[in-house]
């Protein structure tokens, strides 16, 4: 089975949201994805990185790591922050739930990740950080 992997680390600046999703999409492109598959991955990564910036670090500075793995036709993306963590992961994953209503956020971040990828696992510990693991299998032609 074909395998590949990569890891990047960058500071929690909102400018890096676009950087992160483009890097992951470029890595995934070796699987010859459709435009829709690539767009799904970019959107999910954008949500995870935005969560790390807004909620994990609450706009203070910190490091965000992204690890990607390809195994066969499956892409795994792990987005990790070492910020304040999520007290109640199940509540945070509810559609429309937002802990920061003043920011005009829709509360759809985790729902987008869940819908656009095949799997989503969220591990979080208050004051330690959050790890979001997503996988997606790319169809072959």
């Amino acid at each position: 089975m074909f395998k590949n992997e990569m890891k990047i680390e960058f500071p929690s600046k909102s400018q890096n949201e676009a950087f992160a999703r483009v890097v992951v999409a470029a890595f995934a492109s070796q699987l010859d994805p459709t435009i829709e598959e690539l767009s799904d991955v970019k959107t999910a990564v954008s949500e995870a990185v935005t969560n790390a910036i807004i909620h994990g670090y609450e706009n203070s500075s910190g490091k965000i790591e992204i690890e990607c793995k390809i195994e066969g036709r499956t892409l795994t993306v792990i987005v990790t922050d070492y910020g304040k963590g999520i007290e109640d992961v199940e509540l945070a994953k509810q559609p429309l739930y937002t802990s920061r209503p003043e920011l005009e956020r829709s509360g759809m971040g985790f729902t987008v990740m869940e819908t656009f990828m095949d799997s989503l696992e969220v591990e979080s510990e208050p004051l330690k950080g959050t790890r979001v693991k997503m996988t997606k299998e790319f169809k072959s032609f």
């Binding site: 909102s14 400018q15 949201e17 676009a18 999703r21 829709e36 767009s39 799904d40 970019k42 959107t43 954008s46 949500e47 935005t50 910036i53 807004i54 920011l103 005009e104 956020r105 829709s106 759809m108 971040g109 729902t111 987008v112 819908t115």
Partner: protein, 111 residues
């Protein structure tokens, strides 16, 4: 993200060009709100023809503007949605409160 403003039959038309994410959303909402206040328009048409990427931040931008113009009895229409943009809006249930039209002309006729 760049914004182009124009007016059509009393509605403010905002054409967005680029990527709409959390980073660009803040400036987009401020610029649109300022323009609405400056021109005193009621109805808003958001033209997504130049938006090549959008995450759930876009839902917040649209709902926020909807709330703003609703205060004065105004309406919001969204037009020219590419399929990835539409997919995010569908997931957010946006079409239950805001109407989508094919293009600016169709939106103007229906506002």
């Amino acid at each position: 993200m760049n914004l182009k403003f124009s007016q059509k039959k009393g509605a403010l038309v905002v054409t967005m060009l680029g990527e709409l994410d959390h980073h660009s959303a803040e400036r987009v909402r401020i610029k649109i709100d300022n323009k609405i206040d400056e021109l005193g328009v009621k109805n808003l048409i958001l033209d997504f023809s130049g938006v090549n990427f959008m995450d759930s931040s876009g839902i917040g931008v649209v709902i926020g503007r909807f709330r703003k113009v609703s205060e004065w009895g105004g309406k919001v229409a969204i037009v020219n949605l590419a399929s990835p943009v539409k997919k995010v809006f569908e997931l957010g249930g946006l079409f239950k409160i805001i109407k989508e039209y094919r293009d600016i002309d169709e939106a103007v006729l229906n506002l």
